[in-house]
């Protein structure tokens, strides 16, 4: 039995998650923000698959498939909304959509 570096894998997924999270904070282009959320979701999926591998279960991969479904649904709604936003505001900058505040 080889010692598969599960811990490093989790660390990797955490770093990927953090990069995505930083992207959500930093980027103003809403397409990039959506992309960064995908990075976060993907990192979570990675962690699930590695967790499943650690315990020798299929559950982690099943969860990954559900995440995939959710990502697909979210992206399709998100992109539709982004199209709407672009048509209305002629911009993809999230700072442009700040009419409501206070």
């Amino acid at each position: 039995m080889r010692q598969y570096p599960i811990d490093y894998g989790l660390v990797l997924s955490a770093v990927l998650f953090a990069i995505g999270m930083a992207g959500v904070f930093v980027r103003r282009n809403v397409i990039f923000v959506l992309l960064c959320i995908e990075i976060m979701l993907n990192a979570a999926g990675l962690a699930f698959v590695l967790g499943g591998a650690r315990w020798g279960q299929a559950d982690g991969q099943v969860m990954f498939i559900f995440i995939l479904a959710m990502a697909a649904a979210e992206v399709s709604v998100g992109l539709a909304l982004i199209m709407r936003m672009f048509h209305r505001f002629k911009s993809l900058d999230t700072n442009e959509i700040a009419r409501m505040k206070g």
Binding site: R2, V15, G23, V26
Partner: protein, 185 residues
Amino acid sequence: MFPVFYVAGLVALVSTVMVVTRRNPIHALLYFILSLVAVAVIFLDAGAPFVAALEVIIYAGAIMVLFIFVVMLLNPGVALVIRAREWIGPAILSLLLTLGIVYSVVGSTIKTMGISATTPKDIAMALFGPYLLGVELASLLLLAGLVAAYHLGRRIEREAPARGASLQPGAPVGSGAPSSRKEGA
């Protein structure tokens, strides 16, 4: 010593950083596809070939393509010609990744890795056994995505018809995409 994980991990890391830091969305998307492939390699290495395939087919192959599609639609001015020096980064990373894959394929097989691989059959048994209800719920999830994307993406009629407006053909985005996701899931 099985460096596949490290090589693929490094590629995933670097390409993800590149995704977040690019100016051009197309470049970012290409890097992200690379990152997804690298993660798929990790899956393969960790004894999860089925999800590795899904990662490439659905995530990289469908979702990212949807992104590219929208970027193209919204931003026709984006430089579609990618200059030579912009090839360098992805090329090096891809090369590394390929080396890793080759090494892992040559050096070992999944079985000798010592990690019990989860076969597609195991996953299918789980999905349609204990998680059957989850699959049903996922279908509701996709239905919600479908309806929401349809409503939001539909073209806005200029004359603001009050009731019973006919369905406009040629909705720009959304109506086609989620159903293809559904098959994939």
